[in-house]
C-alpha cells in the first residue's frame, strides 16, 4: 500500500482532533461518572439502580420504534415517487421536506402544543363540524406524533438518496425478464434501497429514543421517557453519576439494537 503523503495526513488532522476532544474524551468522562460515586470511588451502585428504570427504558424504546416504523411507512413510497420525478420537481419536493427544519425544534414542538390543545386549532375545526373534541395533548399518541413530525426528514432523505441512484435500466431489465410490479419491488427496489432504510431508521430511532423535550411538551409531563430521567438527574437531582450510567446504558442498548438491525438487513458492511 502506498504511504500517505504528509498533506493527506494533515488533511485528516482537524477531524481527528475534533473527534478526540468532543467525542472520545467526553465518552470516557461518561464512563468514569457511571462507575463512580460522588466522592469519585469506584461503585456499581449506579448500574444496579438502573433496574428501577426498566419500564422507562421499555416505554422509550416502544415509542421510538413505533415512530420509526410510521416514518418508514410514510417515507418509503414518498421517497420512491420523489426519485422518479423530473429534476425540478425533485428540487421542490426536497425543499418542502427540509422546510420545517429551518425552524428550531423547540419552536416547532411548542407550536404543536397549541395546535393539539383542548381548545386548539384541530379541536376548533372539529367542533365547527359538530364533532366531539379529541383529547390529544398529554397522550402517548401526541408524543409519538411529535417524534414523527420532527424526525421524518431524516427518514426521507437517506431513502431518497439511494432510490435516486437506482438505475432505471435495472427496473427495465426486471420488467423485460418478466417481473410484475410486486416482484420488481421485492427483488430489485427493496434490496437496493435497504442501506437507505437502515440509515433512515437509525436516524429517526436514535433521537426519538433519547428525546426529552418532545415528551415534556406534548406529553404534558405525564409521559416519562428515558431522556426525561437523564435530564432530571443532571438538572434537578444533581446526580451526574446516575445520569451518566443511564446515558451509558442507553448508548449500549442503541448500539446493540443497531447491530441486530444491520444483521437482519443481511449486509455486514453496513455496521452503523
Amino acid at each position: 500500500m502506498k504511504k500517505k503523503s504528509l498533506l493527506q495526513q494533515a488533511a485528516g488532522a482537524p477531524y481527528i482532533v475534533w473527534a478526540a476532544l468532543f467525542i472520545i474524551i467526553p465518552l470516557f468522562i461518561v464512563v468514569y461518572y457511571a462507575f463512580t460515586d460522588k466522592t469519585g470511588a469506584f461503585t456499581m451502585d449506579n448500574i444496579a439502580s438502573l433496574a428501577d428504570y426498566k419500564e422507562t427504558f421499555l416505554i422509550s424504546f416502544e415509542y421510538a420504534f413505533i415512530a420509526s416504523l410510521i416514518c418508514l411507512a410514510i417515507s418509503y413510497p414518498f421517497a420512491y415517487i420523489m426519485s422518479r420525478k423530473g429534476p425540478a420537481a425533485q428540487r421542490i419536493m426536497m425543499m418542502l421536506v427540509m422546510l420545517p427544519m429551518w425552524m428550531n425544534l423547540l419552536i416547532r414542538t411548542y407550536s404543536w402544543m397549541n395546535i393539539l390543545e383542548r381548545n386548539g386549532i384541530i379541536n376548533n375545526i372539529l367542533e365547527n363540524f359538530g364533532m366531539e373534541p379529541l383529547k390529544m395533548i398529554g397522550t402517548p399518541g401526541a408524543v409519538i406524533f411529535g417524534m414523527i413530525y420532527n424526525y421524518i426528514p431524516y427518514m426521507i432523505i437517506p431513502i431518497y438518496n439511494v432510490m435516486s441512484k437506482i438505475e432505471p435500466s435495472l427496473l427495465e431489465a426486471a420488467e423485460d425478464l418478466g417481473s410484475g410490479s410486486l416482484s420488481k419491488l421485492r427483488r430489485v427496489i427493496l434490496p437496493l434501497s435497504m442501506p437507505g432504510v437502515i440509515s433512515g431508521f437509525t436516524m429517526v430511532f436514535v433521537p426519538s429514543v433519547s428525546t426529552f423535550y418532545i415528551s415534556q411538551k406534548l406529553g404534558g409531563g405525564k409521559v416519562m421517557l428515558i431522556g426525561d430521567a437523564i435530564e432530571r438527574q443532571m438538572q434537578t437531582s444533581y446526580n451526574y453519576n446516575l445520569g451518566a450510567s443511564l446515558s451509558l446504558v442507553l448508548m449500549v442498548v442503541i448500539l446493540v439494537s443497531m447491530v441486530i438491525l444491520n444483521r437482519f438487513a443481511g449486509d455486514d458492511d453496513l455496521l452503523i
Binding site: 428501577d52 422507562t56 416505554i59 411548542y110 383542548r118 409531563g221 438538572q235
Partner: protein, 371 residues
C-alpha cells in the same frame, strides 16, 4: 420563581419586528438615592437570575442593567436559569463564576451550609433600610449576613369560574373527579409534594420517610384526574381555557387574569408554601465591590418599583409597597391583610438522603401515571 422564560422568548421572537419599532427602552433612573461610585467602571459583573425575573427593558419598561451601567460604568453580563436546582448544578461544577445569584430560601440555606456564599458588606448597601422588617433575619439567614430579599411569593390555586362551581377553599379540589382532565399541577417534585402534604396535614419539611410515602400515595390517587404537569405551559393553558384548575404562584395569576378575566384565585385553607428569593454573592465571585453596588441599586425605589411591576410578585421593599402609584398597591392577592393571611410554611433544605428518597418516589408517581 419565574418559569415563563421559554414562552416569553417565543412570543418575543414572533413579535420581534413590531417590538423593535416600538422604540427605545428606558435605560436611566432619574434620581438615585443610594451612594454610587464610578470607581469600578469598565469592569464586568456576572449576574445569574431566574428567567423573566427582572425588568430589562421589554415594552418600554426600565432596563435595570442598562441603568446600572449608565450610573456606574460597570458592564452587566446578565444570564438566566429556570430552577434553583439547575443554578446549583451550574455553580457547583465550578466551571463558571458569577457575582450575583438570586436563589430561593431553601437553596440559600443549602449554599450557606456548603460554604458557597460570602457575607455581604452592609456598610455599602445603604438602601437596605427599605427592606420590610418582617423579611429581615429569615430562617435561612438568621443574622441577615448573606442575603438581601428580592421577591416574596406564595402558591395558591387558580380556577376558572366558568367551569368550577362555588368558591373552593381546599386543596382537595385538585383531586375532584368532577374535574377530571381539567386539573394542572407542578412539574417538579417539591411543589407537588407540598400540595399533598398540606392536604394531609404533614410537615412539608418532614425528615421522616413514612411521611413522604403517605404523600406519594395521595399523589398517585391524583394521577387519573390530572390533565398535565406543567411549569410555564400553565400560562397558555389557563389563559386559553384549556384547563380549569391549576396550582401556581400568586403573582403569575395576576398575569393570567389579564388575559382571561374568568380566572379566580384562592389560598387554600390547609395552608401553602411561601418563598423568598434573595440576592446573594457566591464565594468565587470575581467582582465583589461591584456586586455590592448592584445590590444597593436593586433596592433603589425606582428600580424596585420597575421590577415589582414587571414581575408582578410581592415586593419586600417598603419604598414600593408604600407607594400609592404602584400598579399593585395593596393588591389583596399579593399583600393579603393580616386576617386574610393564609397559613404558610417555607421550604427548608432537606437532608440529601431524604431528597434522594422523594425524588425516587416522584419517579414512581410518574411511572404510575403512564400505566
Amino acid at each position: 420563581m419565574k418559569k415563563r422564560f421559554f414562552s416569553v422568548c417565543l412570543a418575543a421572537l414572533l413579535t420581534a419586528v413590531p417590538l423593535v419599532s416600538c422604540g427605545g427602552a428606558n435605560s436611566e433612573i432619574t434620581n438615585p438615592v443610594g451612594t454610587y461610585t464610578t470607581e469600578y467602571a469598565g469592569t464586568t459583573l456576572n449576574v445569574f437570575n431566574w428567567g423573566e425575573y427582572m425588568s430589562i427593558g421589554a415594552e418600554g419598561s426600565l432596563d435595570v442593567n442598562a441603568a446600572f451601567e449608565a450610573l456606574t460604568g460597570i458592564k452587566v453580563n446578565y444570564m438566566n436559569y429556570d430552577s434553583n436546582e439547575a443554578m446549583y448544578s451550574k455553580i457547583k461544577s465550578e466551571a463558571v463564576s458569577y457575582d450575583i445569584l438570586i436563589p430561593s430560601d431553601y437553596m440559600i440555606a443549602r449554599l450557606i451550609s456548603e460554604d458557597m456564599l460570602q457575607p455581604l458588606d452592609f456598610s455599602k448597601i445603604d438602601n437596605f433600610h427599605y427592606i420590610d422588617e418582617q423579611y429581615k433575619n429569615l430562617y435561612f439567614d438568621p443574622d441577615n449576613t448573606y442575603s438581601v430579599p428580592y421577591n416574596v411569593g406564595m402558591v395558591g390555586m387558580i380556577y376558572d369560574t366558568s367551569v368550577v362551581e362555588g368558591t373552593p377553599d381546599s386543596w382537595s379540589l385538585m383531586w375532584d373527579a368532577k374535574y377530571t382532565d381539567n386539573i394542572l399541577t407542578f412539574n417538579n417534585p417539591r411543589d407537588t409534594f407540598a400540595i399533598a402534604q398540606f392536604l394531609l396535614g404533614i410537615d412539608i419539611n418532614s425528615e421522616n420517610k413514612a411521611d413522604w410515602d403517605k404523600a406519594a400515595e395521595k399523589l398517585k390517587e391524583q394521577n387519573p384526574v390530572l390533565q398535565a404537569r406543567v411549569m410555564d405551559e400553565v400560562f397558555n393553558k389557563m389563559e386559553a381555557g384549556n384547563a380549569a384548575i391549576a396550582a401556581y404562584y400568586a403573582g403569575d395569576y395576576l398575569t393570567m387574569a389579564e388575559t382571561n378575566p374568568d380566572l379566580a384565585f384562592v389560598y387554600p385553607k390547609e395552608g401553602t408554601n411561601i418563598f423568598v428569593d434573595s440576592v446573594c454573592v457566591p464565594k468565587n465571585a470575581q467582582n465583589y465591590d461591584a456586586a455590592m453596588l448592584y445590590i444597593n441599586f436593586l433596592l433603589e425605589p425606582e428600580v424596585a418599583l420597575a421590577n415589582a411591576e414587571y414581575i408582578c410578585y410581592a415586593s419586600p421593599n417598603t419604598a414600593v409597597t408604600e407607594n400609592p402609584d404602584y400598579e399593585l398597591y395593596q393588591n389583596e392577592i399579593l399583600y393579603p391583610a393580616a386576617e386574610d393571611m393564609p397559613f404558610t410554611e417555607y421550604f427548608h433544605d432537606i437532608a440529601p438522603e431524604i431528597r434522594t428518597y422523594y425524588e425516587k418516589l416522584w419517579e414512581e408517581i410518574l411511572l404510575a401515571d403512564e400505566g
